[in-house]
């Protein structure tokens, strides 16, 4: 057991140290979502009244938790892409021939990616007052915990793709074709209420919708406003955790069957 912690821990540590030493990655993962938020938040403010939200919720406020989700998605995904080349011509070659199980390797990677995404998400929380959200300490803690769960799921998805892929080109196609639409349909960009039925079902079946609603509720924790349109907090949390565990199990499975040919 102590060996497993040592092994997963060392891989986790490596992800953190690498990230800190590559400043451009830190700013890149924060800057793009920030730009999205500023431009779309301001641009759509006049023409958009989110349905199913408390009266007076502006678009910038509505979109804010969605942008946090995007920060988590970007960090988690772009943190895992290195796996592809790393296992053929880099550090992971040595890891693959070490007496370490692939599950442990994936655990180290997933925890590393989760930590990075969480830190970025927490940095983004500083902007909450500008969105019109007044955070309590409890809200910050619970939101942080939710972000960790979501980031773990997203990093695991990134790892599933990265361990399967043979080139980084394919990776970006998948990100654009699958992950961005999944984000768009999670309630990050527009609410689920009032959309046509053909759109409502994909949104309802989208596991990320539950993470989104849990995060949304967590940010307003302790405030009297109610989001009658959102899935209940407990249910959202349960679905999110189950989803994260399932994605990790799948990532470990894919990694076990992956060979660097």
């Amino acid at each position: 057991m102590s060996n497993l912690i040592l092994q997963a821990g060392t891989l986790w540590m490596r992800e953190i140290v690498r990230f800190v030493r590559q400043r451009s990655r830190v700013t890149g993962a924060l800057l793009q979502p920030l730009l999205f938020w500023l431009v779309l938040g301001a641009g759509l403010a006049a023409s958009f009244q989110p349905s199913g939200m408390p009266k007076g919720t502006g678009y910038a406020e509505y979109f804010y938790p969605g942008v946090i989700m995007l920060v988590l998605l970007f960090t988690a995904i772009f943190g895992t892409v290195s796996t592809i080349e790393d296992r053929r011509e880099g550090f992971l070659q040595g890891v693959l021939v070490a007496p370490v199980s692939r599950t442990t390797v994936v655990m180290g990677q997933a925890l590393g990616g989760t930590t990075l995404a969480l830190v970025q998400g927490l940095i983004f929380l500083v902007l909450a007052p500008f969105a019109g959200i007044h955070l309590t300490l409890a809200a910050v803690l619970v939101s942080g915990a939710m972000m960790a769960v979501i980031a773990f799921a997203l990093t695991s998805i990134g790892l599933i793709i990265a361990w399967r892929m043979e080139s980084t080109q394919g990776f970006h196609v998948i990100v654009n074709m699958i992950l961005i639409p999944v984000w768009l349909l999670s309630g990050a960009f527009f609410p689920q209420t009032g959309v046509p039925a053909w759109l409502e079902w994909p949104m309802r079946l989208n596991p990320l919708s539950y993470g989104m609603s849990a995060l949304r509720r967590a940010l307003y924790l302790g405030q009297p406003e109610s989001f009658c349109s959102l899935t209940s907090f407990h249910w959202s949390v349960v679905v999110s955790i189950v989803f994260a565990v399932a994605m990790f199990a799948m990532a470990a499975r894919v990694a076990r069957h992956s060979s660097p040919v």
Binding site: T10, L92, Q93
Partner: protein
Amino acid sequence: MSIFSSASNVAAREPEPRPETPALEASGLSFSYGGGHQALSDVNFAVARGEIFGFLGPNGGGKTTLFRLLSTLIPIQSGEIRVLGHDFRSGTLAIRCRMGIVFQHPSVDGKLTVAENLAHHGHLYGISGRRLRERSAAMLERLGLATRAADRVETLSGGLRRRVELAKALLHEPRLLLLDEPSTGLDPVARREFFGYLHHLREIDGVTIVLTTHHMEEAERCDRIAILNQGRMVATAPPGELKSQVGGDVIVIRAPEPEMLQRKLMHQLKLASTMVDGMIRIERPRGHELVREMVDAFGSEIDSVTFGKPTLEDVFVHLTGHQFATSEAGDPS
């Protein structure tokens, strides 16, 4: 001695296998990729402990596949591999603990310092704390890296990076060191130095060294080599012995019309020769006398004549009927 149940400590406690047990042996090893391409066919060999053993072959000859199999990167399809008596299928973990691997492409992280790279490697092998510090210090000392421990690997020269790879592969005290094209990207001086270190390692620690190469010069420095061509092993012997299989001297003639010249050599001088990639090739003792004779008789029909003692390249031609360089399928170097 600190107490922790690391994988490598388990290896250290176990009694050494009997001296006659080979460090590495393979029998009936075959491997084919999805498209039906047979990368290895029925490969058999045994490497004695403390030996420096090289697989020589052109790129595309099956070396990379063999390396991947031996390093446990890809599963065995058919045949068997044993390391110090441990079977590959049932004893993967035991084998991984006993094997140090140096890849052709860098496996150290350029963004990390030399010491950090070694620490990560140690942790993966269950080595930490005081033992890690001691082993790291010892390896850095031996490889002349002690003053560079705090430098990021990306700031080091190619030769130094290669030494970091070696320090990493040796950190957990492997009994068998496996290297894939170890001198890739090294200048001749660094290459000689690197090989000097491998010999040193064998003398001092008795580590068995197995490597793949397509450099003749590197193959010359091995105790024994196995020649791989198109997935088959065509010979296994010490380099000197292989060279003595070639009959005496080797004469290669370039000519504008090689076929016609070959016929004339046969008729007028009773000389048997082979045609290799458009050049006439003759193996025979006392070749220098023959060169004069040929030049006197056919001087005007000859572009150039080279004459020399057989090299490993000649051995390859002798065994396969092809030039080494033209056998390469897409050589990256």
